[in-house]
């Protein structure tokens, strides 16, 4: 029996998907602006952040209305509550994209201290993790979500490489390089945080689908015996 409620849940799903697409676009543009040191594109990312903020507020309101009027149970309850958490993570990711864009504005009038090698790798990883995390939510796919969680360590590793290289090979050797190194250090940090938020989304997806808490317990990722 089809429920009217299902249409409302579909609408919520679509709105999260739209917000996810905007967030992915923000990351993409912030990274493009870094590659080309494009001031206009970086400014656009910063300006567009409020659009994503509005999306978060709209989806939160939509979830509250569904909770109040539909009094959902079981999967419906987990879906709506996790949607609220996921939009918070998406909004934070968009903030981090804007932060990257701000770092780009700090770099535009300065030559890069070195060719970018590991930051692009970290960038690709972040883009993939966000895409997979959003896909796992939309397709209710806990296996894909599990892969996102497992890959997060690689993001930590790449951030550490960038930090070590910038500090040991540049900052400690040539203090005049600090103004050009700090934005890159922060960008690596922002990208790694984006990966953390993707991991949060993936953990929420697993709870939503399997009713299993893997947050802070990655060893529980083997979830063959779930409710569904």
């Amino acid at each position: 029996m089809e429920r009217h409620f299902d249409h409302e849940l579909d609408e919520l799903n679509k709105n999260i998907l739209k917000m996810g697409a905007l967030v992915q676009e923000a990351i993409f543009k912030s990274i493009e602006s870094l590659k080309t040191l494009d001031k206009d594109m970086a400014t656009l990312v910063i300006d567009n952040d409020r659009v994503i903020d509005d999306c978060e507020l709209k989806i939160d309101e939509e979830c509250l209305v569904l909770l109040a009027l539909r009094q959902p149970m079981a999967f419906d309850l987990r879906f709506i509550t996790m949607a609220m958490k996921i939009t918070t993570d998406l909004e934070r990711i968009a903030d981090l994209a804007a932060d990257i864009a701000m770092r780009v504005l700090e770099l535009v009038d300065k030559p890069l201290v070195k060719p970018l090698i590991d930051i692009p790798k970290l960038t690709e990883l972040a883009k993939m993790m966000i895409k997979d995390a959003i896909d796992s939510f939309v397709n209710k796919d806990p296996d894909l979500a599990g892969k996102v969680i497992l890959i997060d360590k690689e993001a930590d590793r790449l951030r550490d490489i960038v930090q070590r290289e910038l500090i040991n090979d540049y900052i400690l050797k040539d203090k005049s390089s600090i103004p050009r190194c700090i934005p890159l250090l922060l960008i690596a940090r922002h990208l790694e945080r984006i990966c953390d938020h993707a991991t949060n989304i993936a953990e929420d997806v697993i709870y939503m689908v399997k009713a299993k808490v893997v947050k802070h317990h990655p060893e529980k990722l083997n979830f063959d015996k779930g409710p569904q």
């Binding site: 409620f5 009094q71 079981a74 999967f75 569904q228």
Partner: protein
């Protein structure tokens, strides 16, 4: 051991696996099958009702939940051409059997029905009647018990000045609390509620629910309800019945947050049927 979740389908399963060590079983239902004529209404039911806990029974119409709850104080014996097999233990004592007085069982296991059914007597007499039937004649004792019961049912303040008015003048919600007070007067150990708020407005419903939460400190309670939010609000454990079978019994929060059986999930999310 305290375990978060489990599905109970077999008689070997025991609620003690998911409750605190201090919880004790008040009513144990074992291998119950029940028939109206040739029609089987309950199939192999095994379930424990824990002391001082609220156990809610949910399920679609005709699933056997009211039939089940009426077995707990032998009310179904009043229906002709019924057959019961299995055992029901109250504090370890088998209550099915000709040597057990059903009237005594019904005193120990009181029942409140869907529609408030006060006697066409005064408020006072509605409460005192059960005591008098039980042979109590001491007027002071009866008066004290009437006041005590009305207070426990949170009705005293509303009726204290009109105890000798007809009970039929009370609102639906007040009548239902009067029926609860009538049960309490004979000092039962277990209270059974069969859709107690089905005919009540939200304010009266909330009062009954608050009362149930208060009463569970002293009584063991089982409640049949179609209102799943009500089951979620008042109960500690919830059992889902379907076509005469107990599909799943678990802590209420688990049933409504993450049921184990897809049939339970479909029912509580309204996808059933």
């Amino acid at each position: 051991m305290y375990s978060q979740t489990m599905i109970r389908l077999n008689k070997e399963d025991n609620l003690s696996c998911m409750c605190k060590p201090s919880d004790s079983v008040k009513i144990k239902v074992q291998d119950i099958n029940f028939f109206y004529g040739n029609q089987q209404a309950l199939k192999d039911i095994n379930l424990d009702v824990l002391e001082n806990r609220v156990t809610a029974i949910i399920g679609p119409s005709g699933c056997g939940k009211s039939t089940f709850i009426r077995l707990l104080n032998r009310m179904n014996e009043l229906v002709p051409k019924t057959t019961l097999t299995g055992r029901i233990y109250l504090d370890g004592q088998d209550i099915i059997g000709s040597c057990i007085d059903p009237v005594e069982i019904r005193r120990r296991v009181g029942m409140v029905f869907q529609k408030p059914n006060p006697f066409p007597k005064s408020i006072f007499e509605n409460i005192s009647y059960g005591l008098e039937v039980n042979g109590i004649k001491n007027k002071q004792f009866i008066e004290e018990r009437v006041v005590e019961s009305l207070k426990r049912a949170v009705l005293w303040e509303e009726v204290r000045t009109r105890l000798h008015d007809s009970a039929l003048k009370l609102s639906g919600g007040q009548q239902q609390r009067l029926c609860i007070a009538r049960c309490l007067a004979v000092k039962p150990e277990v209270l059974l509620f069969d859709e107690p708020c089905a005919s009540l407005d939200p304010i009266s419903t909330r009062k009954i629910e608050e009362l149930i939460l208060e009463l569970k400190k002293d009584y063991t309670i089982a409640i049949v309800t179609h209102n799943m939010q009500q089951a979620a609000r008042v109960s500690d454990f919830t059992g889902f019945f379907l076509l005469g079978e107990l599909i799943e019994l678990d802590k209420t929060e688990n049933i409504f947050k993450a049921p184990k059986d897809k049939r339970t999930e479909d029912y509580i999310t309204g996808r059933f049927g």
